[in-house]
């Protein structure tokens, strides 16, 4: 940019022209990157952006908190269903769920349904948090790989085991019947138990057995002694004759009396 100095006098007396006039000669908008004036380069360098730098870097000050993942509606629904299922059922059996053909699976579910036994499928990541906070904490080791749950409000273990025997791909891992955790052998032995009425009758019989024996025990000694004495009398009468028989009789009379007195 050239500067031209003009004199104040002359034809420009009415108005005025500045002392210095700048004349731009180069084009300002070019296709190529035009070289900047050095002063302008310096200005651009001085006025660059400087990012804020806190005394304590953000990495050190912010705690490493994992952002809480928003639970989607489906997961919430499944949580609710799991809670309901566990609350409503008295018998809960956990089985390993290997591949079964769909028709066999359907038939098994149908047969179980007739006895009001439901087969439930829940993802482990839904069931495990529920279990860890509920009273079924000790069932956690069972919910590891692919599994299914057999739940029922009634306790019908024999029918369940019979159905499971028909489908070899589903194997029982464990069960929680009436708030008691049982292994698969435990479930089998539970099914072999007699019914409640039978066991009650057995208990009553065992208790009354001793009392029924008391009377017999009391009479046992006296009866034994009288039998022995009878036998002796018979022997005496049979061996010696009448006088010994009288003496034997006389002896025989105070015998049972003495026996009775002794008792």
């Amino acid at each position: 940019m050239a500067a031209a100095a003009l004199s104040g006098r002359g034809p420009c007396r009415a108005g005025w022209l500045p002392t210095l006039q700048f004349v731009r000669q180069a084009k300002s908008v070019t296709r190529h990157w035009k070289a900047m004036h050095f002063e302008r380069q310096k200005l651009m360098a001085v006025t660059e952006y400087v990012a804020p730098k806190p005394a304590i870097p953000a990495v050190c000050s912010t705690p490493r908190v994992h952002a809480k993942k928003e639970e989607n509606g489906y997961a919430k629904l499944l949580h609710r269903q799991v809670a309901e299922a566990f609350q409503d059922s008295k018998m809960i059996a956990v089985c390993q769920h290997c591949f079964t053909p769909s028709d066999e699976m359907l038939m098994m579910q149908h047969r179980l349904r007739k006895h009001n036994i439901h087969v439930k499928f829940f993802p482990n990541e839904i069931v495990r948090p529920y279990l860890s906070t509920s009273k079924y904490k000790n069932l956690l080791p069972l919910f590891v790989a692919r599994n299914l749950m057999i739940m029922s409000p009634e306790i019908k273990v024999k029918e369940m085991l019979r159905m499971l025997k028909r489908v070899p791909q589903i194997s029982l891992l464990g069960a929680c019947i009436d708030d008691t955790i049982l292994s698969s052998q435990g479930v089998v032995s539970y099914s072999k138990l007699p019914s409640l009425e039978v066991t009650q009758g057995q208990v009553v019989g065992t208790l009354s057995l001793t009392t029924s024996q008391t009377c017999a025990l009391l009479q046992h000694g006296a009866g034994h002694l009288s039998a022995l004495l009878d036998q002796y009398v018979k022997q005496q009468s049979g061996g010696t004759g009448e006088p010994d028989g009288q003496a034997g009789e006389g002896q025989a009379e105070p015998g049972p009396a003495a026996g009775a007195a002794g008792l």
Partner: protein
């Protein structure tokens, strides 16, 4: 035994070519994403880009000046979205001629699904006549004849808009394809990304720790720096240099 099963299943490398890492196999609950609601978006009757003429219907008789200030500085028109949701934003100044228009039109129309997407031009058809002298002649002899027409585009202007029942991810691919072929730097944007870009710019301007800003120095003419600067720099605040846009400047 059970604790081993509780950890996620890992597949060990069995083939000899495998690297010594284990792939973790995890199957979790599927997250069913609710699909977006496009009820308020209607597809117009002619969803594809219109054909753009090479020459305006009334060709110019008067040959125009070069007038390069139609390239310089930020754009004042077509800076915001109107009909569509995604578009191409110009990040520099330049001229678009018929070849560019054809390229854009063909590429976009090829990738559009007319049932669910539509596209709209945000630049006018070429209107500015560019003259050329015939080859091999010396300087002088007057201004050349009108050779072709161009459209001037300033920085910050939207070239075209795309909308419809589609996501940015579907549309981004061919918009960037087109953006790379334009004579000025451009990028594919959505309404949200444009908003974010402007907010980020604003944030940078606010939290700039440098006490010396271009604006401050030039408005108070410190060191007589206006001797080497143009009056346009007052408004452009050092972010523009000719037709170029300096993105890193604040």
């Amino acid at each position: 035994m059970w604790r081993g099963l509780a950890r996620p299943l890992r597949a060990l490398p069995t083939a000899p070519g495998d690297l010594s890492y284990t792939r973790v196999l995890i199957a979790g609950l599927k997250n069913f994403v609710i699909p977006q609601n496009y009820d308020n978006i209607s597809i117009p009757e002619r969803p594809k880009l219109k054909f753009i003429d090479k020459v305006p219907s009334v060709p110019k008789v008067r040959r125009e000046f070069k007038n390069l200030r139609d390239i310089r500085g930020p754009s004042t028109e077509a800076t915001d979205f109107t009909e569509g949701q995604y578009g191409i934003l110009a990040l520099g100044g330049g001229y678009l001629h018929w070849g560019h228009f054809e390229m854009i039109r063909l590429t976009i129309n090829r990738h559009l699904d007319p049932k669910i997407m539509f596209a709209v031009w945000r630049v006018p058809a070429p209107y500015k006549p560019i003259t050329r002298k015939s080859l091999g002649h010396r300087m002088g002899g007057g201004k050349g004849a009108i050779d072709h027409y161009v459209t001037a585009v300033k920085c910050g202007r939207l070239i075209l808009e795309v909308g419809g029942h589609c996501e940015f991810g579907e549309v981004e691919h061919f918009l960037t394809q087109v953006a790379k072929k334009l004579p000025f730097p451009a990028k594919a944007v959505s309404r949200q990304s444009l908003e974010e870009m402007r907010q980020a710019e604003e944030e940078r301007r606010r939290n700039n720790q440098n006490p010396w800003t271009f604006e401050r120095i030039i408005t108070s003419n410190m060191l007589g720096i206006r001797k080497v600067l143009s009056p346009y720099d007052l408004a452009q605040r050092g972010r523009y240099w000719g037709k170029f846009f300096l993105q890193d400047r604040v």
